[in-house]
Symmetry: C3
Subunit: 435 residues, 3 copies
């Protein structure tokens, strides 16, 4: 039996189709225990091509049963070489390297963390990717697994989009699959496409093929989802122009080039305008920080996983332990600004305007208005400090308190109140004076 | 005619199929006046089995035409006994008893309230269920009917899920029907399922049956929707373990038991973490209440339907007449916390994280930050009180006001201003002094 | 060639079907360059009836290629006369006239604005509609085009609902097409219908035709979408009653008249209640404005496009440069109130209650609570002013500052600090005193 396993492993490495599922040592049992999973596989191209359980899962039965085996992208890429190469060339493939992963700087934890395999080969401490996302690090391991990593593992997990045991490509190509991650407050691309005219035509299923996600972002079946969109990183006019030309060639299948170009140029303008509003809001928050008006102050917060007690407002900004004004800023830069310009690029007026632009501008107003209130209170505090510092006036406030402190101290000395009662009354008095 | 009616009523009570719709006294007219409704019925299993109008609606034509007849669950349960029994064993069946209803403590209203029939047999003052939900009581009768009760009548109304005159079970089993109530800010289960990989596979309609609501929550067609989920009420380890084992047996149709168990265990952890954040936020609000910093104070609010002018923050907390900080807390505990852990249990990273966890933590920040601001203002007030109380200093403020009050009183006495003008100037002066 | 163009233009004016697409001078090239568009057209009723490119686009090839030609409703109305007439009779047709447009009062802009054609015939300065919506005017031209006008051009653009080159009416009748505009925070009709029992039955596609948008709002195929709903403008009992009777006749196809009438009457009540909450919130904001407590004050804001620096809270209220309390009010009146009553009219308990009523009332609470805080701070300011104004007390604050100003002035005179350093220290001192 061990010899058979060894032979199968060798065959896997050589990527030669297996003799046949009949020989598979897992099937008999799993057809009873996990029938749905086996049925998916039986109906798959893998079954037809005789790619069986251990071709992907390996032959270590115990490790598999203990949940220690992960079928990652390198396993799939053994056969699907072009898909893996183009995937890795895209933003999807650079996910963890680009700072979208999370566990690199994580403190050791008692809890065994399944996500190790995202950055390390099993049994190795050598990282295979560079990751440093503070936002992930601030979450519990359970939330990291069910929240962050369920999407941000896309670099190393083909089953982010493909079903695990079936091979029906219509599922991987369906906009719903993209939407599992590309939805929600931070980037509602699924919703904005679905409710745009493109999405409506697609749902109606008529005509000559209305565009879904893959039509524009995986053109010709490529796994490089970054084609046709403005590249991240430092501005690169040649690259930007090349990608735009590529995207317009897709639009041209249905639209005149001028119409499409004008629409995307509006998207560019709206992205730039949104960026300015984010910068304006950020400057307000930074000013408040300099003026010591954020409460809690960064120095009074639980330490930031990467920056400790420093003030953080850039990409590593957390969404916990913030002041109100930072909470507003977080929503503006993380939710409303991207929704505004992505809504424009996806031709959805409601997302560009009502889900994006309107709350973005309302939130900017709220940030400024809150800043104004904080400054008014601060100015009042200074004036009261000044009044209280003038001898014979506010100073009297302090004298009055001293007199009352003496009174309760006397009570304690006389034994009329206990030491505990004294401390309580003293605290009460200080509270009452706002000290 | 009356004899025929009586005979038909008797037959209904005996639950024996009617001789045939041909004899139905309603059909001729309703086929003209409400054709859609009659068409639904004609295509139904009821029509085939000769269950006609008066079998469900009774034979009191006038009461029916006046809208006084409700076909409630006991009518359907006359034939569908097993469905009613399992329904009643579930949370759905215990809805009103469990405090999810609303009208019990309702003040008498001039408006005749159709919802009486939810708690009373027609013509009886004896309640058939125990209901006590303050949140419902605070709403207008129209909002109770169109908002609260449209869903919370599920205990007594089979047409909450089943169509009224059709019997097509594919509708009652469709996830959309569950979603009519299980959606929205308080518990977006429909949305989180639909945009999870489970929902996407279901929409694509491929493979071996991706799970919809009923797959897991009405397994085998049972109407006991509470199977497999953590029971409400005091912790009961044996029951919790039994229900989890049941749910995992459903997961096992497609997933390995370890994988499914780890996923649901993460859900447990995330629910516990969310509960702690709710408790932390609640403690801040309760502290502010003790410090008298909620504005409006509970004593200054319109009376709570159950608690009068007492402070209420538990399950009977209303969402009206609150202070800002309570409004934030309401959203945290009612919207964001359940969305976080229900998102995890439904394997939806965007709901667990971006619709749940992120706003939950942002809102906790906002609550604390608002509390800090309220305390700063309060401390300032105390210091100004102290300054004003020192003779010859703030006392002068009062003296200054008295002097100016005397001046305008003099003008009034001299007849240079009218009594009305005097009152207006006096008010202005007090306002100006902030008194 | 010019002669052929001229002849074709003449034929267009006469609305006589063209000799045949074979003669169309655009097709050869566009079949290569924009194949999707041509394929749509070839499959259309227009192609069958030999209505070709220049029948709608005209024969000015250069103008078309330069994007200067717009196919507006008058072009379509040349043939589709009844549709245009009923469209114009409805709210859709009155869109720009009713103040839903935007560009009339727009300052001249360097950027050539494509939206000119909405109000002017090409080459004419004479407005063809009266438009005056401040909310549009405050947005950038790019946001106007991609946000506002993408929907608000419905008056003059049939392709708001109909596809441009196809004529498949099932698309124009699909609820998704209505939803492209009738969705989102301001009026989520698409979402509330889709997740109501009506929408669920429609999605399941069973029975005798569950109602979608067009069933009730374009009954019998009419383009007058305003039939059956409460008319805008001054109350008109006769008209209201007539429209309600019409709508109930549609409901009666499936529902008893009493049931439908009670449901819509609840909608009326809920609309009235929502209006009162808007009015209550508005009064709070107006009071704050009178008390000078809005920050920024209207006088300190960038000028409103129509009202300059006047305070604006009605239909022309902007969503930018507001104080926090106005931002809250904007959301209440523009998002939550309409969602509440429209949710009731569309029989969606979650929209009526959780997306509408609950945030509407929570926001009212927040507005009042914020107003209370602003007044507390204001009252404190007045008291501190009074304390500071009393000779020998707060006056000492001013004296203290004067003394310190003299000190630094002396340093400057002695040359110990530069003029620049002096200004900086002076500013610092004033800031410290909160002046």
């Amino acid at each position: 039996m061990k010899g058979l396993f060894f032979a199968l492993v060798l065959l896997t490495v050589l990527a030669v189709p297996r003799p046949g599922p009949a020989a598979d040592p897992c099937l008999d049992c799993h057809a009873q225990k996990t029938p749905g999973l086996v049925a998916y596989w039986r109906a798959s191209a893998h079954a037809v091509r005789k790619v069986g359980c251990i071709d992907c899962h390996g032959s270590d039965r115990e490790a598999n049963h203990a949940g220690r085996v992960t079928v990652d992208a390198t396993v799939c890429g053994g056969c699907h070489k072009a898909a893996l190469t183009t995937h890795r060339a895209s933003k999807h493939g650079a996910g963890l390297k680009a700072g979208m992963g999370c566990t690199r700087n994580k403190a050791k934890s008692d809890e065994r963390d399944k996500s190790c395999s995202l950055c390390h080969k099993t049994g190795s401490a050598q990282p295979i990717v560079q990751v440093a996302c503070a936002m992930f690090l601030a979450q519990s391991p359970a939330m990291q697994r069910q929240g962050c990593l369920a999407c941000h593992q896309v670099e190393v997990r083909c089953d982010s989009c493909h079903t695990r045991h079936g091979t029906d490509l219509s599922i991987a190509r369906s906009p719903g699959v993209c939407g599992v991650c590309h939805m929600g407050p931070d980037h509602p691309q699924a919703e904005m496409w679905e409710t745009s005219m493109h999405g409506v035509l697609y749902s109606q299923g008529r005509g000559t093929g209305a565009p879904a996600c893959a039509t524009c972002h995986m053109h010709g079946g490529s796994h490089d989802v970054s084609r046709g969109i403005s590249p991240d990183g430092p501005p690169d006019a040649a690259r930007i122009s090349k990608e735009r030309t590529f995207m317009l060639s897709i639009c041209a299948e249905c639209h005149t080039p001028g119409m499409a170009a004008r629409s995307l140029a509006d998207g560019d303008t709206i992205r730039e305008q949104s960026g300015k509003i984010v910068a304006e809001a950020r400057a307000v928050v930074e000013d408040l920080q300099r003026e010591g008006l954020l409460s809690p102050a960064p120095s009074d917060r639980p330490p930031h996983p990467l920056a400790g007690n420093k003030f953080v407002i850039g990409p590593h900004m957390l969404y916990e332990d913030l002041s109100s004004v930072e909470s507003l800023f977080f929503k503006l830069k993380q939710f409303y600004a991207p929704t505004t310009y992505k809504g424009a690029f996806h031709q959805n007026p409601d997302y560009a305007h009502w889900y994006g632009n309107a709350p973005m501008k309302l939130t900017l107003s709220e940030i400024k208005s809150e800043a104004s209130l904080l400054r008014q209170v601060q100015a009042l505090k200074k004036r009261v400090d000044n009044l209280a510092a003038v001898p014979g006036t506010g100073g009297a406030e302090v004298e009055d308190m001293k007199r009352r402190l003496r009174e309760i101290e006397e009570l304690r000395l006389k034994g009329e109140i206990s030491a505990q009662e004294y401390e309580k009354m003293k605290k009460q008095l200080l509270d009452e004076k706002g000290l």
